[in-house]
Symmetry: C2
Subunit: 351 residues, 2 copies
DNA sequence: CTGAAAGCGCTAACAC
DNA sequence: GTGTTAGCGCTTTCAG
């Protein structure tokens, strides 16, 4: 493996001069530059990024931290979109060091150990123990999620989940729904709470109140959907509509509803989330809240490049992305028969 | 950032001793080990992988090279599956450095510059100029594709495209098809040629011959599908069935056939490839050749770990993965009316 | 079992 | 414009 020293020796110049040529330092005589460049070609010299990084503290590498298993990340189409956005925005200016893992893993090690230039963090729980240390460290980092309502120190790009939820409520209330259940998502994710907040405020606008017994928190994507849906439907005066934290969850909820003998959407309306590629092809096609994951990733990456390029620390920048409701066939006007039945149940319970 | 030197100073031992503790070298007195470990905890010391890599030439990082744009990689479900397989098999023993890019990019730089411990390479063209240098370098690397029929120096894991194609032929011939067109895929990919070889040999088994005018090479996934399908259908005595290099290509071909006034599968049968998540949900659902991309990635990663762990150079290992035909609704018995029409055309041309 | 010295390949700071 | 010196944080000899 030819080193800078070898090039210097062959070209008959100092190592520093070679270094200057490699780094496009203008203070090199054209003749010298050319000679050095030729030797570099001939010897097929490539700078050792480890040595460079060790010497100057930069590695040309961005760490991508996703607090999910590889199975979830690559299994659910949304992350692929975000990663695609990141990759394109980075445009080969930074290589990507991917770090996946679920739970409270010490991802700060990515920085500590690999000395990445910056981090993009996705799906980070609010109570993540690394958070404070990370923000204090001054390492450029951008989140594609929010961490807490008042977190103003961090750079983030995040969809406006509350607004998405309010749009869902507008839609459902227009269809006559008043009892609405929420499979909110993981309790430790800010987005889950925003979703519930949006539902609550949306209902309030119509003089309705969210029955907190119809709100369930649970994991993303897999496993808990059926159980939670059944739990909610087992409450007194069960809801006529279910709002889910993602499309997979919605699919599971629909499955559970079928097992309970309900028809979707005739008996119960179900709303998915993310408008993933699943949504249009599922039967029934899912009404879902669309987020632009590609753009989310791209904006985060662009911001990271800015932060890394900046000489002075930049003030944090926070971007709220709009969400929009895509209406398909998993939601429908509330079933009169069931509504009456529910009303009777309430009367009975109330007596 | 606390360094090994700091730890050594505080613990009152030499740097080498700290190094031994960090690297689990057994030749350390238990008391010393414990003291050092405690100081490491207290000071929150993390080894600098750059420095370590510079000193010993190992980086705990695997380069993942995919010769496609990020758009293709994350847009087509198959790569996500492979990446998921890789990530899980690597099991955090190696970090993943992702390098995407289409064309003859100098991906050897990943090795040269980042000094990765090994490479997993996907979708590499046979005429890749880096190939020889890469194989000569002795860097552990595993391909999830073949490079040439006689390439025995490389480690690879690849589906048996020829066998997949033969299964397709069995299916199509059973349905009465004898004139079969192939949208083979990129000319520079070995898989494309294997696909055509399988078709040719498959037909031969039935005493049929592949009309080479009905074979077209083109890019993967996007763009060329419609044009190529139309080109093939414009040949004298056009085929009654089209075999495509991927499911997206099949979708495009079907689109083009509709534009030409053909019905699928009544007039022309179309076979997709990969059995991606697209296949079952497209209208008509695609008959497609299934490959287990997850397993392909997982096996490649496992092999890479072996190669890296090995002290002596290991003999290359080559794994051919089975493919299976999933029959859906885009293929059907050949249309008698058209068959007669084609026969007339042949008669006319022949006269 | 432990330590001292040298060096991995590069760049920063300062000469000239 | 160019060269010299020192050192980034670690591991590898090789001694003890």
């Amino acid at each position: 493996m030819t080193s800078l020293r070898d090039v210097a020796r062959v070209a008959g110049v100092s190592m520093k001069t070679v270094s200057r040529v490699v780094n496009n330092d203008p203070k090199v005589a054209p003749a010298t530059r050319q000679r050095v460049q030729q030797v570099i070609e001939e010897m097929n010299y490539r700078p050792n990024l480890l040595a460079r990084g060790l010497a100057n503290g930069k590695t040309s590498t961005a760490g991508i931290v996703i607090n999910l298993t590889a199975d979830d990340v690559f299994g659910y189409p949304l992350f692929s979109d975000s990663l695609r956005g990141i990759a394109e925005a980075l445009n080969n200016r930074l290589d990507m060091l991917l770090h996946l893992g679920h739970g409270k893993f010490p991802y700060l090690d990515l920085f500590h150990r690999h000395r990445v230039d910056g981090l993009i963090l996705m799906n980070i729980p609010m109570d993540d123990p690394n958070l404070r240390g990370l923000l204090d460290s001054g390492l450029p980092c951008v989140f594609t999620c929010r961490l807490a309502a008042d977190e103003t120190r961090a750079n983030w790009v995040d969809p406006d989940f509350a607004s998405g939820a309010e749009q869902v409520i507008d839609h459902l209330v227009a269809l006559g729904h008043t009892r609405i259940g929420v499979l909110a998502g993981p309790n430790h994710l800010f987005s889950a709470h925003e979703r519930v907040r949006g539902v609550r405020e949306g209902l309030k606008r119509y003089g309705l109140e969210l029955d907190e017994r119809l709100v369930c928190y649970g994991e993303l994507f897999t496993g808990s959907g059926r159980r939670l849906a059944k739990h909610i439907m087992a409450q007194p005066d069960p809801p006529t509509a279910l709002i889910c934290s993602d499309d997979l969850m919605a699919c599971e909820a629909i499955y559970a509803l079928h097992e309970l003998g309900y028809d979707v959407p005739d008996d119960v309306s179900v709303v998915g989330w993310d408008d993933s590629s699943l949504a249009p092809v599922f039967r029934p096609p899912l009404t879902s809240v669309r987020q632009d994951a590609y753009q989310k990733g791209a904006l985060a990456a662009k911001r990271l490049l800015q932060l890394i390029a900046a000489t002075d620390p930049e003030p944090p920048q926070q971007t709220l992305l709009p969400m929009s409701l895509i209406i398909r066939e998993s939601t429908a006007r509330v079933n009169q028969r069931r509504e009456n039945y529910s009303a009777q149940q309430v009367a009975k319970t109330g007596s």
